[in-house]
Symmetry: C2
């Protein structure tokens, strides 16, 4: 046996054996359950205890600041009729608030809610937000939120690690939401794109011999190297003034933004906001799985290259808003590399606002990203996802694996991070990119050399709640971003979504009390935990009639027809039309047994959309009962519509 | 006596007499005190009672949703060792959070904190946020936050009324902060500016005979009338595609943005973000009161007109970030009207992120805006602002009066509204402007004719916390936006700021234990409640030395030199330099007894900046004691620096 072989064996023992032990071990679901408030407030004693503890800590903090100072509000004032009267007014207003909230809120907490991307909140996140709110720190500047700025930077690096980036090189910050995170990406990408030309204008020697065309097609890493050089020159500010920041956008020059048809509408908004114009947005068709069609992407890029039109950026989606589909990031990264070798560079961003946290399902407790085989075994053994789902599909797995090849990623803590709004986030692979932004206000600038970072310098927002950072930080403390933390939570949702999908495709047509027969047809096998489907009257040959039925079901199962508290089931819906998805929905129309002529005539398919974020439905036998009940509810709802 | 005279007398009786009775009546400060938690948590029993009440209401709500459903988390699970262990982990994380928050937060609540724009929170706002957070509604779309969307729209209209707009015509929404509110204004203004040319491209008949130059100089109301016409045509979307939204920005054509030197840095950022370029930002000099110099503005506009350069917008500030100065809105509105008559139109926005709520001090309980005489009497009799302050100065009063002449106003609820972050807001005078934006996503679109408004269609943000709306709404319920509500609260801060100013200018030079003499010099008599000042060694002739001293004082009185809990006083600072303020700071340099040569050499003045948002210092005799103590603290701090 050679020494090499010895090392191999050793390596196997050190890395594989514990990986098997740790990754596949079935964890108790009880841990996850204890992290939520519960559909009936099962955890409310603990919740109230913790909240009262945190508030008492806060009040102690106030009291410990110059204990010699007398209280600002005297006992006399507190007990005065005016104060008593004021407190009555406060109580009255809060009571009215409670009434309004109870009448006009969605029961996200309930298993009967399978609609938008919302669910019960993680207790530690909600509690942390509530407690931190009292300190009301502001992460625009270190001075206004020392503790929470540190937490935001920590959360940024935790997310960087989750996404597979090198923590030493990466940067992450919290944003007001996914939209603002996407905005921040396009802001950086746009200004960076204009940087080489700005260098040519101010420091031409640095880019000597490079044509305008070449400068507009530099790769991100080449441009960052150039930025690094300029940063240390006295002309740094002068160069920045020659970027888009100073000169404004030239929409003819800045290049095209390529997004899949399934992109979030914030990308269209971004083209408007950032002055590039929606006419410079190119939507790449999706394939039958509602993932970006990479061949089409290649074809579009080739066409642009041929016409000498620069590409600003390519954006792909990890968990599309409407379908939960996962674009094949690894193929996009390969394309990017292929074109880079041809001298065509562009920025690559992943919009994982929804799907980002799912990556924790593939990270073992040592922090390593699993192999496909390990991931599948973990899915079955640890998350109890049915073997027949063969989850994750290879493309989904590879897509998650290749995430760190992107230049930046949007990932929302207030979606699959289960913390309160507002908490989107963005992570950049290479923090040198921050130097493309330099907005300072005199009163937020700290000139000391090693002054702490003020996040406001780098983000779109000004004032931003430190409480968001506290919530994400605390949630991550309790639930690490790997198999044992968020993986466990999200595993339950994927398991449930697969059970829902399975039962939907297996269920026989059902009959309403009026004797009419209906069946459920699912759009696609979900990549993650969003299930789109329609209910169709078996004998109905009309797409328009099917749409009407599903619109009516939606109306019955949403706020549209009144008090949500009286609903048996709540869902959301979405519509597929050629202007958004080309002819891809025809595949589904056919699956529904409808003719091509129906699609050509109606040009729109309305589907019901159930985001399965709840962790409360993961028990198999209970889910089966739940599903039977769901069918009964559907029968009732449809009977009502039929009459 | 003529009938007219009879009516006049009647009018006097009806309007004036009650106005005198209501407006000048001295209100008990006790009411205001009961609205805050207190420096030592004096109101904490009430706070905890209310919070527990709201949470119980929330849990009742959960339980009342399908009471027949069994709880998702069984007793067995809740009592399992795994759940107990998990709860221990949660408690540990929360305890660590508490420790971090207490170590790294600012004691905003204390009277010893006079720095940034933060203070103790209004109890009803904080409580409402915490309670609403549990419902986690999302105001991006009505469906995801029915109750809170309604509250946001109500708050928008309340703010419209506060600002003097016609509620029937206005629109207001909450934003993630003042920066995003300013962004929303420039977004609308920019796209509106490009609208007439878009009409020319698609529906030329509608603007027949109008030159390109004329179309780029249409007034806002002319453009809105045009928008109204187009909205009802089938070409509406086609026209919008020809605006900046579709085509991107042409920075040469979109016009210049005129802002005062004292503007918030978000305007510079906006020029970058919106693709217009900072080189198209023109900063208008300020006068010696740090208010926009209106003659200079007129001169700049005239110069641009002469060169056929369009003006995108003029922005003025109501309560500048660094000085709290109030630009003379009425003179700007007059200029706008003057140029409109010459065929030169531009958008007018007021950035009242800080100062907006102050307008409540001038609104009586019947909703009427007071006369200057009434306002001054109210200031003295009701808010107890010293007569010698003659507050409000006429310019400040007139500036507030003319607010509704602007096309839009930024106003932050999380600043002088005393509610938690994040809650900026923007109000537009004429809601027809909303039609310049139309971003819809299939899953947020509700196609029914009278479907409720989804705020996400009109704002920059996507997901946005409904809890912000709940907080502002509840605070406004308890404290109406007039003399008796916010007026009363803010009156105390203006009173305190004036006392601080008075004592600062009256105080004799003080001596440290080392026998060196110092005096306090105030930048300007404050328009509102921000006081900028320096401490100067009497014998010191050097500006550089004065700057060093004040930097050192700031370092001692901020996080820079360590634990804030050990500080006797906490302040913020800012710096005035020619690149930002031209030669205006020279006036102050001279006031400090320094030579012009010092200014020419050093080119920078560092001042300490105390925002007086606390309501806890309004008692005169207590304030006098506070001020003496402050001088003692300064002596101690300076002695430490001297050694």
């Amino acid at each position: 046996m050679s020494i090499k072989k010895h090392f191999f064996v050793l390596w196997v023992i050190i890395f594989f054996v514990p990986a098997v032990v740790f990754s596949y071990a079935s964890e108790s679901d009880y841990k996850t359950d204890a992290l939520f408030l519960g559909t009936k407030g099962e955890n409310s004693d603990f919740f109230l205890d913790m909240l009262n503890m945190m508030i008492k800590e806060h009040i102690n903090w106030r009291q410990s600041f110059h204990p010699e100072d007398k209280p600002a509000i005297s006992k006399e004032i507190l007990n005065s009729p005016d104060a008593i009267d004021t407190r009555k007014k406060v109580k009255k207003a809060l009571s009215e608030l409670s009434i309004r909230m109870k009448e006009g809120s969605n029961p996200w907490f309930s298993s009967r809610y399978l609609g938008h991307m919302t669910s019960d909140l993680l207790l530690p996140g909600a509690l942390a937000y509530m407690a931190a709110l009292l300190y009301n720190s502001n992460n625009v500047v270190y001075e206004a939120g020392q503790a929470t700025t540190k937490m935001e930077l920590e959360v940024g690096l935790q997310l960087a690690e989750l996404l597979g980036y090198d923590q030493k090189k990466a940067w992450g910050n919290i944003t007001s939401g996914g939209t603002n995170a996407n905005f921040q990406a396009i802001w950086y990408a746009r200004n960076l794109k204009s940087f080489p030309l700005a260098v040519k204008a101010v420091l031409p020697d640095l880019v000597k011999g490079k044509s305008r065309q070449k400068l507009l097609n530099m790769t991100v890493s080449e441009t960052l190297d150039l930025l690094d050089k300029v940063k240390n020159s006295t002309k740094y500010e002068a160069v920045l003034k020659h970027t888009v920041k100073g000169t404004g956008v030239d929409p003819k020059e800045i290049g095209k933004l390529l997004v899949p048809q399934s992109r979030h509408y914030s990308w269209d908004k971004a083209m408007d906001v950032f002055g590039i114009g929606t006419e410079n947005l190119i939507t790449v068709p999706v394939d039958i799985n509602y993932r970006m069609d990479i061949d089409a992407l290649d074809h579009i890029i080739a066409g642009l290259v041929q016409k000498n039109i620069p590409i600003l950026a390519v954006v792909s989606v990890l968990g599309s808003t409407e379908e939960g589909s996962v674009d094949e990031t690894y193929r996009i990264a390969s394309l990017r590399d292929k074109y880079a070798r041809q001298g065509i560079g562009f920025y690559y961003h992943i919009d994982a606002a929804y799907g980002g946290y799912i990556r924790s399902m593939f990270i073992d407790e040592s922090g390593a990203f699993m192999s496909l085989e390990q991931a599948r075994k973990t899915a079955q053994k640890r998350y109890h996802i049915t073997e027949s789902a063969s989850w994750p599909q290879e493309q989904v797995y590879e897509a998650y694996k290749a995430v760190p090849q992107a230049d930046s990623v949007t990932i929302d803590c207030h979606k699959l991070g289960y913390i309160p709004y507002p908490a989107g986030a963005i992570v950049f692979k290479d923090k040198r990119i921050l130097s493309i932004q330099t907005f300072h206000a005199a009163y937020v600038k700290d000139t000391r050399a090693n002054a702490p970072v003020s996040i406001g310098h780098y983000v779109l927002e000004g004032s931003k709640p430190g409480a968001s950072a506290a919530a994400a930080w605390t949630a991550h403390q309790v639930s690490p971003l790997n198999v044992s933390g968020y993986g466990q939570i999200l595993g339950r949702t994927i398991k449930t979504a697969n059970m829902l999908y399975d039962l939907m495709i297996k269920t026989e047509p059902f009959e309403t009390k009026n004797g009419r027969k209906y069946r459920i047809i699912v759009l696609i096998k979900p990549d993650l935990n969003i299930v789109d489907y329609v209910i169709k009257e078996v004998s109905n040959p009309s797409l328009e009639a099917m749409n009407k039925l599903n619109q009516a079901i939606y109306d019955e199962c949403s706020y549209v027809s009144g008090n949500l508290m009286k609903k048996d089931f709540i869902t959301s819906k979405t519509t597929f039309s050629p202007s958004e998805y080309g002819n891809i929905p025809l595949v589904f129309v056919r699956k529904c047994g409808l003719s091509d002529a129906e699609w050509n005539k109606t040009q729109s398919v309305l589907v019901l959309r159930s985001t399965v974020m709840t962790t409360y439905l993961s028990d198999e036998s209970e889910f089966t009962a739940y599903f039977s009940n769901l069918i009964e509810i559907m029968k009732k709802v449809i009977s009502k519509i039929e009459i």
